[in-house]
């Protein structure tokens, strides 16, 4: 199956700092999502971004599908950004999408005040 690797595994920041999280994947994809799992365990959709660039407030994401990676940028981090960030992909299968996501192991982000 497709492999998804996220880096770094852990990241500690001071409030106000910027950060970049990376997701590498081993095959062509037709679906890539970034999630934030908050301290209560809820998985929150951040971006649906199989290719291109999107921005939402202090967060933005870029996926370069041809080079098989995606980046999540967090600017001016806040303590509420703490949690685990997951990248999840669906391998491209002849144009048919089933929505089957393979998750990376996540990046644990801790933002200190």
């Amino acid at each position: 199956g497709i492999q998804v690797e996220q880096s770094p595994p852990d990241l500690i920041l001071q409030e106000g700092a910027n950060s970049t999280l990376r997701c590498n994947f081993s095959d062509s994809v037709n679906n890539l999502q970034w999630f934030h799992q908050n301290p209560w365990g809820q998985l929150i959709n951040l971006f649906y971004i199989p290719s291109g660039t999107k921005q939402n407030g202090r967060l933005s994401a870029t996926t370069v599908a041809t080079e098989r990676y995606s980046l999540l940028y967090i600017s001016s981090s806040q303590t509420t950004d703490s949690g685990v960030y997951f990248c999840a992909v669906e391998r491209h299968a002849g144009g048919t999408s089933y929505g089957k996501l393979t998750f990376g192991q996540g990046t644990i982000l801790t933002v200190h005040p």
Binding site: Q42, L43, N45, A88, Y98, G99, F103, G106
Partner: protein, 117 residues
């Protein structure tokens, strides 16, 4: 607001007991997924449905797990008999698949935290 709803949020049960987890997908979504999250394995896909029909349940231990969609507003995941190794957080997710569309964006419920003692 539209969200995936899972019940119960927490469940503690004794080994050997039957456990049923329920999920109400977002209205209008035609694809439903069950995922399991553990510290060791991370998030794994157990089963998924399209238009209520099971498409793939290869991630599920067949001898004790079963997943169904009695109707478009309810998906169930059942474990019988439960074992301590089944302790995990079980997530339901739903999405809308469009013919010829690029991908299915999945939206997750809050999960059911299952503890089998």
């Amino acid at each position: 607001d539209a969200r995936v709803t899972q019940t119960p949020r927490h469940k503690v049960t004794e080994m050997g007991q039957e456990v049923t987890m329920r999920c109400q997908p977002i209205l209008g979504h035609n694809t439903v997924f069950w995922y399991r999250q553990t510290m060791m394995q991370g998030l794994e896909l157990l089963a998924y449905f399209r238009n209520r029909a099971p498409l793939d349940d290869s991630g599920m231990p067949k001898d004790r797990f079963s997943a169904e969609m009695p109707d478009a507003t309810l998906a169930t995941l059942k474990i019988q008999p439960s074992e301590p190794r089944d302790s995990a957080v079980y997530f339901c997710a739903s999405g809308l698949a469009v013919f010829g569309g690029r991908g299915v964006e999945a939206f997750f419920g809050q999960g059911t935290r299952l503890t089998v003692v």
